[in-house]
Amino acid sequence: MNYILTFKNTNLVIKAEQCLKKCNISNTVLPLPSQLKAGCGLCLKVVSCDIKYALKTLVNEKIDELALFSFDEKEQKPSFVEISDWCILLE
């Protein structure tokens, strides 16, 4: 299972990407999958094992206006499931 983080604008996507990079958290900027609706046309992909640390890092940097979706990369046409209560992952 991997994760997609969406943001309301491009500035936040790039800020989040750089913030995660600085903390050596692997992430990939991707075009927003057509199944998802978000403010901006870009999003970040973070792998399962890094997601908690990534979210904590972003929240600490006050980049917390985001939406989180899980998906299975092995599926040809993956379905994205929104995790609206992602804050519990921080505990």
Partner: protein, 382 residues
């Protein structure tokens, strides 16, 4: 009926595919100029070793945000373009180092003032007509000012040699695109209007001119072969339609696709998505700035007053594309095209004796049904 190629990407897919290429180019240190219009002298941007990217808004998603600042009764293209910038939801706008715009219509030029509050926006003062005394001289001065602005912004020196190379390359691209458009002249046409319109709007997201040239040349060759094998000598009952008027990118599905789904072929475009500026190359034999000023002042947009070149192009296209009817697309509140449509209708119906319909619309889907009904009735009379 023409079919789309197997690897066809719709506009939205092509736009998205370009995001990462653009991001990579920025990370590699490339300079990027956001542009809006056919009047943009792309050769100067190329000669400054920068990349241009189109910023015209073609969907209604950012319009509600734009309407917080701009009046509601404004052209949807202007509102959409501003909306994306205002909400920072277009990565191309985000990655652009500056915006290059021209004083084309009143709505755009006032919007550019607001855009300038978000990002460095250089506005070229386009003369309101081609023939006024001093028009060319003033436009040439604008070219020189732009050259200086680009040189200062990107700390580069735009030499005549670089400019001549850019002119030559852009002319090659124009020629290749013109050959692609000419496929629409074949009877029956193997090329769908939906493909023409999509390709012309989305090819701008391929930032390397050589890649663009290659893609367009390959597709033209494929279509020629397709015509020889499957279309040549066959008759078609599908009426041949010419589109004229405003840019159609934001209404592609509800007008262009609708016409083709209703049983007609859109064979040509007399608008910025068509051969309008492609058929008029930059003169490679005179001083480059003068050549650019002359060329870009000849663009037949309705913002020019008077605008006889558009009627010449329209007449020529109606004949050469063997058109059965003309559909004019007016984006709501586009006053220049809307006023000019009176003479366009007279020209098409009286001088060329062809049926004509004018569709005034915006980017919303709310009038799709109404447009379909009107187009059905129009196609029935052809």
């Amino acid at each position: 009926m023409p079919t789309l190629p197997a690897n066809f990407q719709n506009y939205s897919e092509a736009k998205k595919a370009g995001f990462l290429k653009m991001k990579q180019l920025k990370e590699d240190g490339k300079n990027v100029v956001g542009v809006f219009c056919t009047y943009t002298p792309n050769e100067l941007i190329m000669a400054a070793d920068a990349i241009s990217v189109g910023l015209c808004g073609m969907s209604d998603e950012a319009i509600p945000a734009a309407e917080k600042v701009l009046p509601k009764n404004l052209c949807p293209l202007i509102k959409a373009s501003y909306g994306y910038a205002y909400t920072d939801t277009c990565p191309y706008f985000y990655f652009a180092d500056m915006v290059l715009a021209e004083t084309t219509c009143d709505g755009k030029k006032k919007m550019y003032e607001l855009l300038g509050e978000i990002k460095h926006t250089h506005v070229m003062q386009l003369p309101p007509g081609r023939f006024g005394e001093g028009a060319l001289e003033s436009w040439k001065q604008e070219m020189l000012t732009l050259k200086k602005v680009l040189e200062e912004k990107f700390a580069v020196h735009i030499t005549d040699e670089k400019l001549r190379q850019a002119i030559k390359l852009k002319n090659q691209e124009r020629k290749a695109m013109l050959e692609f458009f000419n496929i629409g002249k074949l009877v029956p046409s193997p090329l769908s209007g939906y493909e023409i319109s999509t390709l012309m709007d989305s090819i701008a997201f391929t930032f390397d001119i050589h890649e663009r040239l290659d893609a367009i040349t390959k597709r033209t060759a494929q279509l020629k072969e397709l015509y020889e094998c499957e279309y040549k000598g066959k008759s078609s009952t599908r009426p041949r339609i010419l589109i004229t008027g405003c840019p159609t990118g934001g209404v592609r599905d509800k007008v262009i696709k609708a016409i083709e789904d209703l049983g007609a072929d859109v064979v040509g475009f007399e608008c910025c998505s068509g051969p309008r500026e492609k058929q008029d190359p930059v003169d490679e034999n005179i001083e480059p700035i003068q050549a650019l000023a002359e060329k870009y002042l000849r663009v037949n947009c309705s913002v020019m007053s008077p605008n006889p070149g558009r009627f010449e192009a329209l007449g020529q296209m109606i004949d050469e594309y063997k058109v059965d009817g003309v559909v004019e697309v007016i984006l709501q509140a586009c006053h220049t095209f809307n006023v000019e449509s009176y003479n366009v209708k007279k020209f098409v119906t009286e001088e060329k004796s062809k049926p004509y319909i004018c569709i005034e619309t915006d980017y919303s889907k709310s009038d799709s049904g109404q447009i379909n009904t009107r187009l059905t009735a129009f196609l029935e009379i052809l």
